[in-house]
Amino acid sequence: MNAPLRVIGIGAWAPGAPDWQRLRGILRGETAPAEDAPARPSGSILPAAERRRAPDGVRLAADVAAQATAMAGIDPANLPCVFASTQGELAITDYVCETLAHAPLELSPTKFHNSVLNAPAGYWTIATGCTAASSAVTAHHCSFAAGLLEAAVFACAENVPVLFASSDVASTGPLAEMTRTTLAFGVALVLAPRGSAGARLDVALGGVAHEPFLGDGLALHGVAGDNPANAHALALLQALAVEKGRRLRLPLSPGLSLDMEITF
């Protein structure tokens, strides 16, 4: 990549850690997961009418994206965005397949248009008035790395800050046996191609990735097994939380890794 990036905004949501501040404390070993944290993401940035229709996957992506852009202090209206997800709205896929099997003519139109993988990008751009490019990336268990690559490439190639969010909700129904995603987890970063604020992030393509490093003594170990793609974000988040430089290698495709170097 031709230029280093800066991480100028961070957002996160996990059970017991509904924002980056809480997750940062957990990753630093300073706090425990909150017992009284909300069980579902709020989607509070969405206008009321949209929020009523928005499924959990959209709320999750919107929550982490809103945190990251607020921290970056950037108006999302002009900010290109890349949303990554392994499976999209799993509960809706379950509903759609179940309904089609028994009563296809009763399929809900709202649930159908919420089933597209770019539902988070759609709701986000509507909520924030964002008219810039928006995208939805998926690459099975490499979705976090693939989405981060897409966002980093956009930021470097177009020389503009980019919002990147990666999230998955838990699956339901018979589909759950195929997806291995049993808890909701999302992360967002605002990547800037210039400036000096925030951690420096260098991204490059590397050789074949081994098992990714998931962080020492991580209080959220459960995430690693239960939200496979986004668990790949944990080591990066831990480095950002403890503000210590680190090199990371994440699997990107069968023959390639995404190599990252964080420096402070």
Partner: protein, 398 residues
């Protein structure tokens, strides 16, 4: 406005749709205004509508070593890859640049969800039946992972899924990867197959016509759903100076509504502006526009507002009357049709329209025409207000 980009050569491309397999079948159908829509015979309880179905997908098979990827969508992808020397061109590109120096960026709206639907119809005591206990096909990345396996492409492999703009945006993503020097070539494309989700889903939104769709007709009343595979191989132009070129791409968001376009076409204008700026041309230089033209009341009404941007000599048509709306594959399929217009000197007609919306009349091509096309634009708009516009141009002359 974005800066002008270095054009990329399209060193191979192909399409498979209801019009047939490969470029020659498409050219023949477009030249003769022979559409591919047929009476819906898909699913156990077919809706009364027309569909653009690819013949013979059920009877085709994947090679034994790829059999674990088997599903309707990957079969169509495999049929598509075997046309017009695509696999040979990809192999040559891998040999020239190295397997990890070639990217794979594919668009799809529903990928192999047809197999997930099938599993739900055949649940075995609440579990997926044994033959469908294959997690790799119950994910939207199924298509791209299969094509990577089938071609040996080992560079970055991404799936873009932004509904009906998916496989137009792949050209933009691939161009950026090449521009930054992360790869030297990219296979881009899109594949979407008929499935109950889209047939009954668009039906629930009351967007499906009972007849063959009639883009830009005053009596249009909805889409016809189709399936397709479209692919293009992008490389730097020194690899093939005479090959047609990707000149520009533009992407935007409507920020308006999940399933209705912005009434003034704000996002469509913005994507066009972006694409023209990257190509370094004015709208007046465009010879042919392949319109998104879904034949819904709203899409065509809004897209018609973009037409006055073009010159008096610009010809425009939607080809969805030929193929149906192939959703996540539409961007790639219609990019290939735009390339055919340039390479074979044809303006495809706007099939299905007998009484054009008056405001489209100056531009809409109702009959096929043999005509030199140097610059062609393709529009793709998707749910969530997701827009993409591509500009293609002629290669260097001999």
């Amino acid at each position: 406005m974005p800066e002008r980009i270095a054009p990329l050569a399209i060193t191979a491309c192909s399409a498979t749709s209801a019009l047939g397999r490969g470029l020659a079948a498409h050219l023949e159908a477009l030249r003769n205004a022979r559409g591919g829509l047929s009476i819906n015979d898909f699913s156990a309880t077919p809706l009364a509508c027309r569909i653009g179905r690819v013949a013979g997908v059920e009877d085709s098979a994947l090679p034994a070593d790829l059999a674990h990827w088997d599903c309707r969508n990957n079969r169509l992808a495999w049929i598509g890859l075997q046309q017009d020397g695509l696999l040979d061109a990809v192999a040559a590109s891998l040999a020239r640049h190295g397997a990890t120096r070639v990217a794979l960026v594919l668009g799809t709206s529903t990928a192999s969800i047809g197999s997930t639907e099938d599993a739900y119809r055949r649940l075995d005591h609440g579990h997926f039946p044994a033959d469908l206990q294959r997690p790799e096909i119950h994910t939207p990345h199924s298509l791209t992972a299969f094509v990577a396996d089938a071609t040996g492409i080992a560079g970055p492999a991404l799936t873009l899924s932004t509904a009906c703009s998916s496989s137009a945006k792949v050209f933009a993503s691939a161009e950026r990867l090449i521009r930054l020097g992360l790869v030297d070539a990219a296979l881009v494309g899109g594949v979407d197959t008929l499935c109950d989700s889209v047939l009954f889903g668009f039906h629930s939104l009351e967007l499906v016509s009972t007849q063959a769709c009639r883009p830009f007709d005053v009596h249009r009343d909805g889409i016809s759903i189709g399936e397709a595979a479209g692919f293009a191989l992008l490389e730097r132009i020194y690899a093939a100076p005479r090959a047609p070129r990707l000149l520009g791409h533009g992407e935007s968001s409507d920020a308006y509504h999940m399933s209705t376009p912005h009434p003034e076409g704000r996002g469509a204008h913005a994507a066009l502006d972006d694409a023209l700026a990257r190509a370094g041309i004015d709208a007046g230089a465009v010879d042919y526009v392949n319109l998104h033209g879904t034949a819904t009341s709203k899409n065509d009404e809004v897209e018609a507002k973009v037409l006055p941007r073009f010159g008096a000599r610009t010809r425009a048509s939607s080809t969805k009357g030929f193929t149906g709306h192939t959703l996540g594959a539409a961007g790639a399929l219609e990019a290939v049709i735009a390339l055919l217009a340039i390479e074979d000197g044809i303006v495809p007609p706007n099939l299905g329209c007998s009484e054009p919306m008056p405001e489209t009349a100056p531009w809409l091509a109702l009959q096929p025409a043999e005509q030199r096309v140097d610059i062609a634009v393709s529009n793709s708009f998707g749910f969530g207000g997701n827009n993409a516009c591509l500009v293609f141009g002629r290669g260097a002359s001999a």
